[in-house]
Amino acid sequence: MAKKLPKVDVVIVGVGWGGGIIASELTKQGLNVVGLERGKERKTEDYFMVHDELRYALRYELMQDLSKETITFRSKTSVRALPMRSYGSFLLGTGLGGAGVHWNGHTFRFLPYDFEIRSKTVERYGEKKIPADMTIQDWGITYDQLEPYFDKFERMAGISGEENPLAGKRSKPYPTPPMKKMPSMKMFEEAAKKKNWHPYMLPSANLSEAYTNPDGISRAACQYCGFCERFGCEYGAKADPVVTVIPVAQKTGKFEIRTHSQVRRILHTGNKATGVLYTDVTTGEEIEQPADIVVLTSYVFNNTRLLLLSKLGRPYDPNTGKGVIGKNYAYQVIRGGATGFFEDREFNYYAGAGALGIVLDDFNGDNFDHKDLKFIHGASISHTMTGQRPIQTNPVPQGTPSWGKDFKAASLKYINRTLSVGAQGASMPFRHHFLDLDPTYKDVFGDPLIRITFDFEEQDRQLAAFTAERCGELLQEMGASKVEVNGKLGPYDIVPYQSTHNTGGVIMGASPDTSAVNNYLQMWDAENVFVVGASAFGHNSGYNPTGTMGALSYRCAEGILKYHKSGGGMVV
């Protein structure tokens, strides 16, 4: 029998960006919140020895321990899904702050087109533009409705940036100016302008200057040390939940964080949750935490998995297209980029910051005409300088052997003479891309792992080839001696790292028939359960997801407060 604790107002599952934002907003209004986090506690002091590429980037210090839990993957239903035994395609966070600790800090707003993607595509190109199996749908919210929440997230995190001329309207400028511009970024800017494209500095959560946010949290400026992604920030310059929202919630005295607490089930009677069951992983003890409101704030995979394990909501069935939990899993198309080699010039390639870069959206969303193209949506095209660390960065021109004397000579020659321009492609959902429970493989507790069924489609191949050409043109204009265009997209392969932008599974929408949560992220099938994360995305845009996920988290917090006040019912 599980030990039963006294009831609280709200229990949140996972203390990363979603959990931290929800906790800070609710505790400020006087609610009692318990945060259950399966991993360990974290603080900035932990990163004293963080400039260690091997430990953090290649041995995944901050990531989920796969020996305890992983995912399984198959390209289609006729293939046997097998576990991701080692890291590759994406990296799963754990511990206080979650994936919000090891991100790079690219903080975009999805385009107005994204939120009404089906309507706007049909309006401009007709129904026939959308392939039969492509399950894009409107999100049940518009950009204008979400704008105040984007602003709130950006002000909390202190995003450094400048206006994107091709994006939705902003109510206010970014709270801090853009980051410093490296010479190669100036080259990108000039080249793009020559082509009449619209470059702008990448919106960055690595602070360009010291900043105090509306919650009274002060953070120092980024030092461009080159250790962001896969690392924690030793300066607190990179916005993460541990240095922003979590301390705000803790200061109220109403937020209790329990680390090493892995939630196993949402407990419910009928269509109302009564609390959660979790395991104290240090003792193995099972504990029940009753609550009036349950908020799932873990990553895409565990939000979906916990609902399926708890038998809450209607599981998605790819054969009928009915059901919603596990629906519209999407990813990111990263292979549409280009590399430029510069014989006569060396760049300070070792320096940089996770979100230091310059970007353009002329080929993103529906900012360009797709009439004669065999895909919809597009990609942001950017040149970033994250600080190229020596183990993982060994650029050589095509045709160079991958080892031996010639490899060594070429990799040493080109290490500081190579620039890349990348495309971050949108990923559309398809009826046969989904998440469900694996029938065979289990986690350390004996619970089924989540299973991904996903592959790249013709849409993705066309998109990658198109954006890679644009990246190549830019590098040519930037004066590269040699340009290699890498636009060939093979089957989805879980081995090489691509992107940790997994989305969908518990998507938002205007109707319970086609979505799992409403536009406050409240479950249609369980009014006191809210599900926060990129799991709510109906598709993935040509951008990093955190900005949009953060805005939705603030929107959700407002919904929870409304629900708490009204004492029940749907808040929309």
Binding site: S67, A210, I391, K408
Partner: protein, 253 residues
């Protein structure tokens, strides 16, 4: 086109962490969330006693001792690493940089045991896009791979791998890389990939792990290692070369 940074070149003392913090204004008002400021400024500095004029005796590298490999295995790996990243006119190769010691030490720990990988069954052969699906751990894969390199060298040249001429060693490695060598227990090309990747790790990881001796791997790439800040470098047009710093410097500097 290589210029030296004005404040942090080979002739100057590297910027100490503490002075850096004092000078960069990182100690800020309000609610201090950064751990750097508080914890480090409070640490007292005790300079090491020095004898004027004394030349320090060269100290033995206590790290260069085997934790996992047998001496025979070590010879094979050491020779193979050197072919993957050979000494040339640019500078030292994997052997001088200690890459094989690095691999030995890594196999002795978590990585060698696949401690943080999902190693539960059932085991099925999957598609290439599903990644490694074997039951063998990295240390076992190395055991087999090393043995097979010697077997293949013996059967083709009547010698052990490390007794072959460098060009012959390259032929053996190529045969593994291309799966021309047919193995039953492991994939020859997958073993080669692991060997290549761990050689580069040994060449370029922080010297605390036993490779990248004297930070000479980093010097090959003009990589400055562990630096506190590049704020003064980031906007410069010219390449800024600086003497590398290690994590040991960071902790004791």
């Amino acid at each position: 086109m290589v210029v030296l940074a004005q404040t942090n070149n080979e002739n100057d003392q590297p910027v100490s962490r503490r002075n850096f913090l004092k000078n960069s204004g990182l100690v800020i008002g309000g609610l201090v969330v950064g751990g750097v400021a508080g914890s480090l400024l409070a640490k007292p500095k005790t300079p090491a006693p020095t004898q004027p004029g004394a030349t320090p005796a060269p100290t033995a590298d206590f790290n260069q001792a085997l934790m996992y490999f047998t001496p025979e295995q070590f010879k094979v790996v050491d020779a193979a690493c050197e072919r993957i990243f050979p000494e040339d006119e640019n500078g030292p190769g994997a052997k001088a940089l200690g890459a094989a010691y690095f691999i030995d030490h890594q196999l002795a720990g978590d990585w060698g045991f696949n401690s943080r990988d999902y190693m539960q069954g059932p085991f099925y052969q999957g598609e290439a896009t599903q990644g490694y699906q074997g039951r063998l751990k990295r240390r076992e894969i190395f055991d087999i791979g090393i043995q097979e390199m010697n077997n293949y060298s013996n059967s083709t040249q009547k010698k052990k791998f490390y007794e072959l001429a460098p060009e012959q060693q390259d032929e053996v490695l190529k045969a593994f890389e291309t799966d021309e060598v047919k193995l039953t227990t492991i994939s020859a090309s997958a073993f080669f990939k692991m060997l290549r990747a761990s050689t580069l790790e040994g060449v370029y990881s922080d010297p605390l792990y036993g490779g990248n001796k004297n930070m000479d791997g980093w010097k090959l790439k003009n990589y400055p290692g562990n630096q506190m800040t590049y704020s003064q470098v980031i906007e410069q047009d010219k390449f800024v070369k600086m003497a590398p710093l290690s994590l040991r410097d960071h902790q004791h500097g």
